[in-house]
Subunit: 201 residues, 2 copies
Protein backbone atom coordinates (compact mmCIF):
# COMPACT_ATOMS: atom_id res chain seq x y z
CA UNK A 1 0.00 0.00 0.00
CA UNK A 2 1.80 3.08 -1.18
CA UNK A 3 1.15 6.50 0.22
CA UNK A 4 0.25 9.20 -2.21
CA UNK A 5 1.60 12.56 -3.13
CA UNK A 6 -0.87 15.39 -2.83
CA UNK A 7 -0.43 18.95 -3.91
CA UNK A 8 -3.42 20.86 -2.71
CA UNK A 9 -4.76 23.88 -4.54
CA UNK A 10 -3.34 27.16 -3.46
CA UNK A 11 -4.65 30.64 -3.98
CA UNK A 12 -8.26 31.26 -4.72
CA UNK A 13 -9.21 27.75 -5.77
CA UNK A 14 -11.32 29.02 -8.64
CA UNK A 15 -11.31 25.84 -10.64
CA UNK A 16 -13.92 27.25 -12.95
CA UNK A 17 -11.59 29.93 -14.26
CA UNK A 18 -8.00 28.95 -14.66
CA UNK A 19 -6.64 26.29 -12.37
CA UNK A 20 -8.50 23.33 -13.74
CA UNK A 21 -5.39 21.27 -14.50
CA UNK A 22 -4.15 21.71 -10.96
CA UNK A 23 -7.51 20.63 -9.58
CA UNK A 24 -7.59 17.57 -11.85
CA UNK A 25 -4.17 16.46 -10.60
CA UNK A 26 -5.17 17.21 -7.04
CA UNK A 27 -8.27 15.04 -7.05
CA UNK A 28 -6.43 12.21 -8.74
CA UNK A 29 -3.77 12.27 -6.03
CA UNK A 30 -6.15 12.60 -3.10
CA UNK A 31 -9.16 10.62 -4.29
CA UNK A 32 -7.33 8.09 -6.46
CA UNK A 33 -9.08 8.90 -9.74
CA UNK A 34 -10.44 11.76 -11.78
CA UNK A 35 -13.96 10.91 -10.67
CA UNK A 36 -16.60 12.82 -12.66
CA UNK A 37 -18.54 13.55 -9.46
CA UNK A 38 -15.49 15.16 -7.95
CA UNK A 39 -14.94 17.35 -11.01
CA UNK A 40 -18.54 18.57 -10.76
CA UNK A 41 -18.01 18.83 -7.01
CA UNK A 42 -15.18 21.28 -7.57
CA UNK A 43 -17.47 23.59 -9.51
CA UNK A 44 -20.14 23.20 -6.83
CA UNK A 45 -17.85 24.10 -3.94
CA UNK A 46 -16.43 26.97 -5.95
CA UNK A 47 -19.92 28.31 -6.62
CA UNK A 48 -20.84 28.10 -2.94
CA UNK A 49 -17.59 29.80 -1.91
CA UNK A 50 -18.32 32.67 -4.27
CA UNK A 51 -21.81 33.13 -2.86
CA UNK A 52 -21.41 32.79 0.88
CA UNK A 53 -23.55 34.82 3.24
CA UNK A 54 -21.76 37.17 5.62
CA UNK A 55 -19.49 35.53 8.09
CA UNK A 56 -16.01 34.30 8.77
CA UNK A 57 -16.33 30.70 9.90
CA UNK A 58 -18.31 28.20 7.90
CA UNK A 59 -19.20 24.57 8.39
CA UNK A 60 -20.10 22.22 5.57
CA UNK A 61 -22.69 19.57 4.82
CA UNK A 62 -22.35 16.99 2.08
CA UNK A 63 -25.69 15.38 1.25
CA UNK A 64 -24.05 12.27 -0.15
CA UNK A 65 -21.01 10.31 0.95
CA UNK A 66 -19.86 9.91 -2.64
CA UNK A 67 -17.21 12.24 -4.07
CA UNK A 68 -18.57 15.53 -2.73
CA UNK A 69 -17.01 15.21 0.73
CA UNK A 70 -13.60 15.12 -0.93
CA UNK A 71 -14.29 18.26 -2.97
CA UNK A 72 -15.19 20.04 0.27
CA UNK A 73 -12.11 18.74 2.06
CA UNK A 74 -9.81 19.80 -0.77
CA UNK A 75 -11.24 23.26 -1.37
CA UNK A 76 -12.33 24.47 2.06
CA UNK A 77 -10.97 24.30 5.61
CA UNK A 78 -13.66 21.75 6.48
CA UNK A 79 -12.61 18.11 6.93
CA UNK A 80 -14.18 15.05 8.49
CA UNK A 81 -11.47 14.88 11.11
CA UNK A 82 -11.76 18.48 12.29
CA UNK A 83 -15.52 18.23 12.62
CA UNK A 84 -16.39 21.08 10.26
CA UNK A 85 -17.71 18.75 7.58
CA UNK A 86 -20.78 16.64 8.24
CA UNK A 87 -22.03 13.96 5.87
CA UNK A 88 -25.78 13.49 5.75
CA UNK A 89 -26.26 10.50 3.52
CA UNK A 90 -29.37 11.55 1.60
CA UNK A 91 -27.88 10.46 -1.75
CA UNK A 92 -28.71 13.95 -3.03
CA UNK A 93 -25.85 15.47 -5.00
CA UNK A 94 -25.66 18.67 -3.00
CA UNK A 95 -23.44 20.58 -0.63
CA UNK A 96 -24.06 23.41 1.83
CA UNK A 97 -21.63 25.84 3.43
CA UNK A 98 -23.15 27.67 6.39
CA UNK A 99 -22.03 30.20 8.95
CA UNK A 100 -21.49 28.11 12.03
CA UNK A 101 -23.24 30.35 14.55
CA UNK A 102 -26.25 31.65 12.61
CA UNK A 103 -26.84 28.66 10.33
CA UNK A 104 -27.19 30.98 7.32
CA UNK A 105 -25.81 29.20 4.33
CA UNK A 106 -25.58 28.55 0.62
CA UNK A 107 -26.70 25.24 -0.81
CA UNK A 108 -25.54 24.12 -4.25
CA UNK A 109 -27.10 21.12 -5.94
CA UNK A 110 -27.00 19.33 -9.26
CA UNK A 111 -30.13 20.55 -11.05
CA UNK A 112 -31.87 17.74 -12.97
CA UNK A 113 -33.35 20.20 -15.47
CA UNK A 114 -29.90 21.53 -16.35
CA UNK A 115 -28.46 18.10 -16.98
CA UNK A 116 -30.80 17.54 -19.91
CA UNK A 117 -28.62 19.59 -22.25
CA UNK A 118 -25.61 17.34 -21.59
CA UNK A 119 -26.41 13.78 -22.70
CA UNK A 120 -23.22 12.10 -21.46
CA UNK A 121 -23.62 13.75 -18.05
CA UNK A 122 -27.24 12.67 -17.93
CA UNK A 123 -26.32 9.12 -18.88
CA UNK A 124 -23.65 8.96 -16.18
CA UNK A 125 -25.72 10.60 -13.46
CA UNK A 126 -28.80 8.43 -13.99
CA UNK A 127 -26.71 5.33 -14.71
CA UNK A 128 -28.41 4.84 -18.05
CA UNK A 129 -25.61 2.67 -19.41
CA UNK A 130 -22.88 0.46 -17.95
CA UNK A 131 -19.66 2.17 -16.98
CA UNK A 132 -17.70 0.43 -19.74
CA UNK A 133 -20.02 1.90 -22.35
CA UNK A 134 -19.57 5.44 -21.07
CA UNK A 135 -17.35 7.78 -23.03
CA UNK A 136 -15.20 9.05 -20.19
CA UNK A 137 -13.45 11.81 -22.12
CA UNK A 138 -16.74 13.09 -23.53
CA UNK A 139 -18.24 12.99 -20.05
CA UNK A 140 -15.36 14.99 -18.58
CA UNK A 141 -15.42 17.50 -21.42
CA UNK A 142 -19.16 18.04 -20.99
CA UNK A 143 -18.75 18.51 -17.24
CA UNK A 144 -15.95 21.01 -17.76
CA UNK A 145 -17.82 22.89 -20.47
CA UNK A 146 -21.01 23.03 -18.45
CA UNK A 147 -19.24 23.79 -15.17
CA UNK A 148 -21.44 25.61 -12.67
CA UNK A 149 -24.15 25.62 -15.34
CA UNK A 150 -25.14 22.15 -14.09
CA UNK A 151 -25.95 23.53 -10.67
CA UNK A 152 -28.76 25.20 -8.83
CA UNK A 153 -28.14 27.34 -5.77
CA UNK A 154 -30.23 28.71 -2.95
CA UNK A 155 -29.90 30.29 0.46
CA UNK A 156 -30.72 27.98 3.36
CA UNK A 157 -30.84 28.22 7.11
CA UNK A 158 -29.59 25.25 9.07
CA UNK A 159 -31.54 24.13 12.12
CA UNK A 160 -30.31 25.37 15.48
CA UNK A 161 -29.87 21.80 16.66
CA UNK A 162 -27.26 21.23 13.95
CA UNK A 163 -25.11 24.21 14.87
CA UNK A 164 -21.80 23.97 16.64
CA UNK A 165 -22.05 22.36 20.02
CA UNK A 166 -19.23 21.85 22.43
CA UNK A 167 -18.84 18.30 23.63
CA UNK A 168 -15.70 18.82 25.64
CA UNK A 169 -17.43 17.75 28.84
CA UNK A 170 -17.61 14.09 27.92
CA UNK A 171 -16.02 11.75 30.44
CA UNK A 172 -13.28 9.44 29.16
CA UNK A 173 -13.03 6.05 30.81
CA UNK A 174 -11.74 2.58 30.05
CA UNK A 175 -14.16 0.05 28.60
CA UNK A 176 -14.72 -2.84 31.01
CA UNK A 177 -14.40 -5.31 28.18
CA UNK A 178 -11.62 -4.22 25.77
CA UNK A 179 -9.83 -1.94 28.23
CA UNK A 180 -9.53 0.89 25.72
CA UNK A 181 -10.57 4.46 26.43
CA UNK A 182 -13.90 5.81 25.12
CA UNK A 183 -16.40 8.58 25.81
CA UNK A 184 -18.80 7.27 28.42
CA UNK A 185 -22.49 7.84 27.81
CA UNK A 186 -24.79 5.30 29.36
CA UNK A 187 -22.76 2.12 29.44
CA UNK A 188 -19.47 0.96 30.90
CA UNK A 189 -18.87 -0.87 27.64
CA UNK A 190 -17.70 0.98 24.55
CA UNK A 191 -19.99 0.84 21.48
CA UNK A 192 -17.79 -1.79 19.82
CA UNK A 193 -17.99 -4.11 22.83
CA UNK A 194 -21.72 -3.38 23.07
CA UNK A 195 -22.26 -5.25 19.82
CA UNK A 196 -21.22 -2.87 17.06
CA UNK A 197 -17.75 -4.25 16.45
CA UNK A 198 -16.87 -4.80 12.78
CA UNK A 199 -14.32 -7.49 13.68
CA UNK A 200 -14.79 -11.24 14.00
CA UNK A 201 -11.31 -11.69 15.45
Amino acid sequence: METKTIRKLGGDGKISEFKLDDYMRLIKDFHGSTAPGLVIGGFMVDLALQNLPKGEFFDAIAETKTCLPDAIQLLTPCTIGNGWLRIMNFSRFAITLYEKQSGEGTRVYLDPSKIEAWPEVKSWFYRLKPKKEQNFQLLLSQIIEAGPGLCGMKRVKVQDGMLEQKTHGSKIALCESCGEAFKVKDSSLCPACSGESPYVS
Copy 2:
Protein backbone atom coordinates in the same frame (compact mmCIF):
# COMPACT_ATOMS: atom_id res chain seq x y z
CA MET B 1 -13.59 31.79 3.62
CA GLU B 2 -10.17 31.23 2.16
CA THR B 3 -9.14 28.00 0.53
CA LYS B 4 -6.03 26.39 1.86
CA THR B 5 -2.76 25.28 0.43
CA ILE B 6 -1.96 21.65 1.00
CA ARG B 7 1.23 19.87 0.19
CA LYS B 8 0.66 16.22 0.81
CA LEU B 9 3.42 13.90 1.93
CA GLY B 10 5.28 12.23 -0.84
CA GLY B 11 7.52 9.20 -0.75
CA ASP B 12 7.22 6.64 1.96
CA GLY B 13 5.28 8.76 4.45
CA LYS B 14 7.34 7.46 7.35
CA ILE B 15 6.65 10.30 9.72
CA SER B 16 8.27 8.40 12.51
CA GLU B 17 11.68 8.51 10.90
CA PHE B 18 12.53 11.66 9.08
CA LYS B 19 9.70 13.61 7.55
CA LEU B 20 8.06 14.89 10.69
CA ASP B 21 8.30 18.56 9.77
CA ASP B 22 6.59 17.90 6.46
CA TYR B 23 3.82 16.00 8.20
CA MET B 24 3.33 18.79 10.75
CA ARG B 25 2.92 21.36 7.98
CA LEU B 26 0.64 19.03 6.08
CA ILE B 27 -1.80 18.48 8.90
CA LYS B 28 -1.88 22.18 9.71
CA ASP B 29 -2.80 22.97 6.11
CA PHE B 30 -5.37 20.22 5.70
CA HIS B 31 -6.87 20.01 9.16
CA GLY B 32 -6.43 23.64 10.18
CA SER B 33 -4.27 23.04 13.24
CA THR B 34 -1.47 20.87 14.56
CA ALA B 35 -3.95 18.79 16.51
CA PRO B 36 -2.24 16.42 18.96
CA GLY B 37 -4.60 13.63 17.95
CA LEU B 38 -3.54 14.00 14.36
CA VAL B 39 0.15 13.86 15.26
CA ILE B 40 -0.44 10.62 17.13
CA GLY B 41 -2.64 9.54 14.23
CA GLY B 42 0.28 9.89 11.86
CA PHE B 43 2.34 7.46 13.92
CA MET B 44 -0.63 5.10 14.11
CA VAL B 45 -1.24 5.03 10.37
CA ASP B 46 2.47 4.67 9.77
CA LEU B 47 2.62 1.69 12.13
CA ALA B 48 -0.33 0.03 10.41
CA LEU B 49 1.18 0.63 6.96
CA GLN B 50 4.41 -1.03 8.05
CA ASN B 51 2.58 -4.07 9.36
CA LEU B 52 -0.06 -4.83 6.77
CA PRO B 53 -1.08 -8.38 6.01
CA LYS B 54 -0.56 -9.63 2.45
CA GLY B 55 -2.55 -7.83 -0.18
CA GLU B 56 -2.63 -4.95 -2.57
CA PHE B 57 -5.86 -3.08 -1.89
CA PHE B 58 -6.80 -2.01 1.59
CA ASP B 59 -9.79 -0.25 3.07
CA ALA B 60 -9.71 1.69 6.32
CA ILE B 61 -11.79 2.05 9.44
CA ALA B 62 -11.49 4.96 11.86
CA GLU B 63 -13.09 4.15 15.19
CA THR B 64 -13.61 7.81 16.04
CA LYS B 65 -14.62 10.75 13.90
CA THR B 66 -12.05 12.98 15.59
CA CYS B 67 -8.67 13.57 13.95
CA LEU B 68 -7.88 10.00 12.91
CA PRO B 69 -9.93 10.09 9.68
CA ASP B 70 -7.72 12.93 8.48
CA ALA B 71 -4.52 11.01 9.24
CA ILE B 72 -5.86 8.13 7.15
CA GLN B 73 -6.89 10.43 4.32
CA LEU B 74 -3.51 12.14 4.24
CA LEU B 75 -1.32 9.06 4.47
CA THR B 76 -3.24 6.37 2.57
CA PRO B 77 -5.31 6.20 -0.63
CA CYS B 78 -8.47 5.90 1.50
CA THR B 79 -10.79 8.92 1.71
CA ILE B 80 -14.37 9.48 2.77
CA GLY B 81 -15.37 10.48 -0.74
CA ASN B 82 -13.90 7.44 -2.50
CA GLY B 83 -15.55 5.06 -0.07
CA TRP B 84 -12.39 3.31 1.08
CA LEU B 85 -12.53 4.93 4.54
CA ARG B 86 -15.37 4.16 6.88
CA ILE B 87 -15.93 5.96 10.17
CA MET B 88 -17.42 3.89 12.96
CA ASN B 89 -18.00 6.35 15.73
CA PHE B 90 -17.07 4.25 18.75
CA SER B 91 -15.00 7.07 20.30
CA ARG B 92 -12.14 4.58 20.51
CA PHE B 93 -8.84 6.05 19.37
CA ALA B 94 -8.05 3.32 16.87
CA ILE B 95 -7.67 2.67 13.17
CA THR B 96 -7.71 -0.46 11.04
CA LEU B 97 -6.40 -1.07 7.55
CA TYR B 98 -7.73 -4.30 6.04
CA GLU B 99 -7.45 -6.15 2.77
CA LYS B 100 -10.73 -5.40 1.09
CA GLN B 101 -11.58 -8.89 -0.12
CA SER B 102 -10.43 -11.09 2.77
CA GLY B 103 -11.02 -8.67 5.65
CA GLU B 104 -7.58 -9.49 7.08
CA GLY B 105 -6.25 -6.37 8.69
CA THR B 106 -4.05 -4.57 11.17
CA ARG B 107 -5.62 -2.56 13.97
CA VAL B 108 -3.61 0.10 15.80
CA TYR B 109 -4.93 1.71 18.95
CA LEU B 110 -3.82 4.07 21.64
CA ASP B 111 -2.85 1.81 24.55
CA PRO B 112 -3.96 3.22 27.92
CA SER B 113 -1.17 1.40 29.74
CA LYS B 114 1.46 3.02 27.53
CA ILE B 115 0.14 6.53 28.10
CA GLU B 116 0.98 6.34 31.79
CA ALA B 117 4.65 7.14 31.16
CA TRP B 118 3.75 10.41 29.43
CA PRO B 119 1.92 12.70 31.89
CA GLU B 120 1.06 15.50 29.47
CA VAL B 121 -0.33 13.01 26.95
CA LYS B 122 -2.33 11.35 29.70
CA SER B 123 -3.69 14.67 30.88
CA TRP B 124 -4.71 15.63 27.34
CA PHE B 125 -6.20 12.27 26.43
CA TYR B 126 -8.28 11.92 29.58
CA ARG B 127 -9.12 15.64 29.65
CA LEU B 128 -7.73 15.96 33.16
CA LYS B 129 -7.26 19.71 32.88
CA PRO B 130 -8.78 22.53 30.81
CA LYS B 131 -7.23 23.13 27.42
CA LYS B 132 -5.83 26.51 28.45
CA GLU B 133 -3.88 24.87 31.26
CA GLN B 134 -2.30 22.31 28.95
CA ASN B 135 1.30 22.80 27.93
CA PHE B 136 0.92 22.40 24.19
CA GLN B 137 4.63 22.28 23.36
CA LEU B 138 5.30 19.74 26.09
CA LEU B 139 2.35 17.69 24.86
CA LEU B 140 3.64 17.70 21.30
CA SER B 141 7.18 16.89 22.35
CA GLN B 142 5.97 13.94 24.44
CA ILE B 143 3.87 12.65 21.54
CA ILE B 144 6.80 12.93 19.16
CA GLU B 145 9.23 11.34 21.56
CA ALA B 146 6.87 8.50 22.37
CA GLY B 147 5.71 8.06 18.76
CA PRO B 148 4.46 4.54 18.03
CA GLY B 149 5.38 3.65 21.60
CA LEU B 150 1.94 4.97 22.61
CA CYS B 151 0.23 2.37 20.47
CA GLY B 152 -0.87 -1.21 20.62
CA MET B 153 -1.35 -3.28 17.47
CA LYS B 154 -3.08 -6.51 16.60
CA ARG B 155 -4.26 -8.51 13.64
CA VAL B 156 -8.03 -8.42 13.06
CA LYS B 157 -10.46 -9.92 10.62
CA VAL B 158 -13.29 -7.71 9.47
CA GLN B 159 -16.76 -9.24 9.18
CA ASP B 160 -17.84 -10.40 5.73
CA GLY B 161 -20.81 -8.04 5.84
CA MET B 162 -18.46 -5.06 6.02
CA LEU B 163 -16.43 -6.00 2.98
CA GLU B 164 -16.66 -4.27 -0.36
CA GLN B 165 -20.10 -4.47 -1.89
CA LYS B 166 -21.12 -3.08 -5.22
CA THR B 167 -24.12 -0.79 -5.08
CA HIS B 168 -24.11 0.25 -8.70
CA GLY B 169 -27.54 -1.23 -9.24
CA SER B 170 -29.39 1.46 -7.29
CA LYS B 171 -32.08 3.25 -9.24
CA ILE B 172 -31.78 7.02 -9.49
CA ALA B 173 -35.05 8.95 -9.63
CA LEU B 174 -36.35 12.41 -8.85
CA CYS B 175 -37.84 13.04 -5.42
CA GLU B 176 -41.55 13.85 -5.66
CA SER B 177 -41.12 16.69 -3.21
CA CYS B 178 -37.84 18.55 -3.89
CA GLY B 179 -37.41 17.35 -7.46
CA GLU B 180 -33.76 16.44 -6.97
CA ALA B 181 -32.28 13.08 -7.91
CA PHE B 182 -31.62 10.45 -5.24
CA LYS B 183 -31.13 6.69 -4.91
CA VAL B 184 -34.55 5.16 -4.55
CA LYS B 185 -35.00 2.57 -1.82
CA ASP B 186 -38.50 2.28 -0.43
CA SER B 187 -39.95 5.75 -0.80
CA SER B 188 -40.60 8.21 -3.62
CA LEU B 189 -39.36 10.94 -1.28
CA CYS B 190 -35.66 11.45 -0.67
CA PRO B 191 -34.44 11.08 2.94
CA ALA B 192 -34.27 14.85 3.39
CA CYS B 193 -37.91 15.31 2.33
CA SER B 194 -38.85 12.31 4.46
CA GLY B 195 -38.04 14.31 7.57
CA GLU B 196 -34.27 14.29 7.89
CA SER B 197 -33.57 17.69 6.36
CA PRO B 198 -31.15 19.83 8.36
CA TYR B 199 -32.64 23.04 6.92
CA VAL B 200 -35.47 25.18 8.28
CA SER B 201 -35.57 27.27 5.11
